[in-house]
């Protein structure tokens, strides 16, 4: 009888733990395969969290690059305007010198923009991010040399997919087909010498068009980032749902088991109390 009471008390305790903790799984032995699945689940959640954090970090880099290029495009637009002005036959050489000086200023501005940094890294240096990619170089025809590299870094965005996070500076600013620095240099020379201004201006237009086209990369990447974020968030939600399904207590069943076990124990104890009272010896005088 004592053993039976002990067994009932054990059942009651188990139900009580489940109700109090709200969890069905408190140890691997409660459901070994469910807990093994939970291990994978937790790992998946940790990975998803980190991927989301990375996406947020990279968003910063991409946005800085994009807005810098925006300024670069504006600078080139101004240079084109100056070039068109300079091609006007009514201007004097002195006027053209003034224009050339402004274009020089624009070239310096472009150099600064091309050497922009974010969190201590040069954005347009390829993967040689610890040294400035563009340096003024009087020996170079463009007066500027690229000392970055062609490297493109990528990050994981889930499902084995990766997202490139940078464009090398030479592809943007010193591409052989449309070299922005070279074009600006030519425009400066043309304005100072009052010859070939139209040709030079068209070079700058070409560079401007090229930069605009390349810029689309950043817009595309930012979009992919958004999509990846949505996808991973959904995965995270799914994992959390699975965790609940596996680990959470079924409150109704646990509560009813608790009540049943408590009742059964009370009844058993009452019966035990009664039977131990009766003995023939009480009736014999």
């Amino acid at each position: 009888m004592l053993a039976a009471l002990a067994a009932l008390r054990r059942e009651e305790n188990e139900a009580l733990i489940e109700v109090a903790s709200g969890r069905r799984l408190n140890a691997p032995s409660d459901d070994p395969s469910a807990v093994a699945t939970l291990v994978g689940n937790h790992a998946g959640l940790a990975e998803a969290e980190q991927l989301l954090a990375n996406l947020a970090a990279v968003r910063g880099t991409l946005q800085v690059a994009d807005s810098t290029l925006n300024s670069a495009v504006l600078a080139l637009t101004r240079a084109i305007t100056l070039g068109v002005q300079g091609a006007n036959g009514t201007l004097s050489p002195e006027n053209r010198q003034a224009l050339a000086a402004e274009v020089r200023g624009l070239r310096d501005q472009l150099l600064t923009l091309a050497n922009v940094t974010f969190q201590g890294n040069y954005v347009f240096a390829g993967t040689a991010v610890t040294t400035a990619p563009f340096v003024a170089d009087s020996t170079s025809p463009a007066a500027v040399t690229y000392q970055g590299n062609d490297g493109v870094a990528s990050i994981e965005v889930g499902e084995g997919q990766s997202l490139p996070v940078n464009l090398p500076g030479n592809r943007l600013f010193t591409d052989p087909a449309a070299d922005a620095f070279l074009a600006l240099d030519h425009l400066i020379t043309a304005l100072e010498s009052s010859t070939g201004i139209e040709a030079a201006t068209r070079e700058v237009e070409a560079a401007f068009a090229h930069l605009n086209t390349q810029r689309a990369f950043y817009g595309t990447m930012l979009n992919r980032l958004d999509m990846a974020e949505v996808f991973i968030s959904r995965e995270k939600f799914e994992l959390q749902r699975q965790e609940n399904a596996l680990a959470a207590a079924d409150m109704e069943s646990a509560a009813s088991r608790l009540v049943q076990a408590a009742n059964a124990r009370q009844v058993a104890m009452g019966a035990a109390a009664r039977t131990t009272q009766l003995s023939l010896l009480d009736f014999l005088k």
Binding site: P28, P32, H42, Q50, A53, G120, N121, A153, I155
Partner: protein
């Protein structure tokens, strides 16, 4: 004799017999709560009748013997099931401690540190030159190594504690076998002198039951008085009046205790009782978990090191070892977990790049990708670890249900034993009544015979 004095002596014998029966009943009532007590029954026998002329006269009753009601088969079954229960209880207790080390249901174990390590690598891929992020990788690697070391250490500590358990249990076994041998001696002496040794038999049964809790035994009742006890695989523990004590000896190779009887190692042959359960946990469950841990540690250390060496650090130097390299010895990965440690200290030396450019993160991505590669027994590290958690939990779950079933069987057997050998106060109350009345009646006969003898003596008086 068909005489008055004959009747007197019959009445006297009746008084003695009923007195004896009463004493037996009293003994039963007194021992109602004594564990292991088997109720006694007075065996009353009719005395041999005698002829008087052509008439057969009865000669009364005598108390032939006092019999203990005991079912030998039931006691044997109780012994056997007690062995199982002892084994399962001990095994469950030990394996639950292993389970506590890997209780991923409450977030305890290695999944967290492994995930955080790979996450730190992943975080660095977004900004490979960041010194704080690099330091975070080294810190996470340190935590990872420390967690493995700690788990290995805990498993070894468990084995050491189980060793102490065994030592203590062996001591108890020796004490019990010595006591049983002594009881054997006392019982044969008493029964040799023609007396009942019920109390001693009861006591011996209690000791045998306690012995069953500790170790698996087979008992042989050779000639009805002396109990020979051996382990189920045949090692003698008690032979008649001699007990053969067990000894423990430390195995120099492993530091684990071996159990020795008369010079030969019987550790592998003990399969039941608490000692059997503890041995199973110490020599199978714990080493299996430790071996899995070592396999995982060895795979992680070597794979991560190999990939790290393929890369370049912040200054463009080729990567060295990230963790202390592991060299398996003796055909197994023993101590891979216990010696897991980070050897790289300078965050700038973390080999993130695959071509020397500081902004290149390809080697980092390859390191992070190791998480999803089949590094251990054809499984990814986390799948393999999940398998370990499953095996440990499954072990505990099985032992637990077996124990529950075993306890049910024991309860039923105990109830059966109670029904046969237990004292029922109601029954004894009725017996009390019977023997009391019989005694009174016999005493009444004495009074009647006394009066009649007086009449007979005074026959020729008047």
């Amino acid at each position: 004799m068909s005489s008055l004095f004959g009747s007197l002596s019959i009445a006297l014998r009746a008084l003695l017999a009923q007195q004896g029966a009463l004493a037996t009943t009293t003994n039963n009532i007194a021992n109602v709560n004594t564990p292991g007590y088997a109720r006694q029954r007075p065996v009353l026998r009719e005395e041999a009748p005698v002829f008087y002329g052509s008439v057969l006269f009865g000669t009364g009753v005598s108390l032939e013997s006092i019999e203990s009601i005991r079912d030998r088969i039931l006691e044997l079954r109780l012994d056997q099931e007690t062995q199982q229960q002892g084994r399962l209880e001990a095994y469950l207790g030990a394996t639950q401690q292993i389970e506590n080390l890997f209780n991923e249901a409450q977030g305890i174990g290695l999944e967290g540190v492994m995930s955080r390590f790979f996450a730190s690598l992943e975080a660095l891929t977004a900004n490979p030159t960041s010194l704080p992020l690099r330091q975070a990788v080294l810190t996470a690697a340190d935590d990872l190594a420390a967690a493995f070391r700690s788990a290995a250490r805990n498993l070894v500590t468990l084995q050491t504690n189980l060793n102490k358990d065994i030592e203590q249990a062996v001591g108890e076994v020796n004490q019990l076998t010595a006591d049983i041998a002594e009881l054997n001696r006392q019982i044969s002496a008493l029964e040799g002198a023609g007396q009942e040794a019920s109390a001693l038999l009861d006591r011996r049964q209690v000791l045998v039951r306690r012995l069953s809790e500790l170790i698996d035994i087979a008992s042989i009742d050779a000639n009805g008085t002396s109990l020979t006890i051996t382990t189920t695989r045949g090692t003698a523990l008690v032979v008649a009046e001699r007990s053969l004590p067990l000894e423990t000896a430390s195995d120099p190779a492993t530091g684990m205790l071996r159990i020795v009887s008369q010079g030969s190692d019987i550790t592998a042959s003990i399969t039941g009782g608490r000692i059997g359960g503890v041995l199973a946990a110490r020599d199978q469950a714990a080493p299996a978990a430790l071996a899995d841990l070592d396999d995982l540690a060895a795979a992680l250390r070597n794979a991560l090191n190999a990939q790290h060496r393929a890369g370049f650090d912040l200054t463009g130097t080729a990567g060295g070892d990230l963790f202390v390299p592991f060299v398996p010895s003796g055909g197994s990965n023993a101590r891979a977990a216990a010696s897991f440690a980070v050897v790289l200290t300078d965050p700038a030396e973390l080999a993130a790049s695959s071509d020397g450019a500081p902004g290149n993160n390809d080697n980092l991505r390859a390191l992070a990708a190791l998480r999803d590669q089949a590094l251990v027994s054809g499984q990814t590290p986390l799948d393999f670890y999940a398998g370990l958690v499953f095996r440990v939990g499954n072990d505990v779950m099985n032992a637990s249900s077996e124990l529950e079933a075993e306890e049910l069987i024991l309860r039923q057997l105990a109830n059966q034993r109670s029904a046969i050998s237990g004292v029922s106060l109601d029954e004894e109350a009725v017996n009390l009544l019977r023997y009391q009345r019989a005694f009174e009646a016999a005493a009444r006969v004495v009074t009647a015979v006394n009066e009649l003898s007086e009449v007979a003596i005074n026959f020729g008086r008047y």
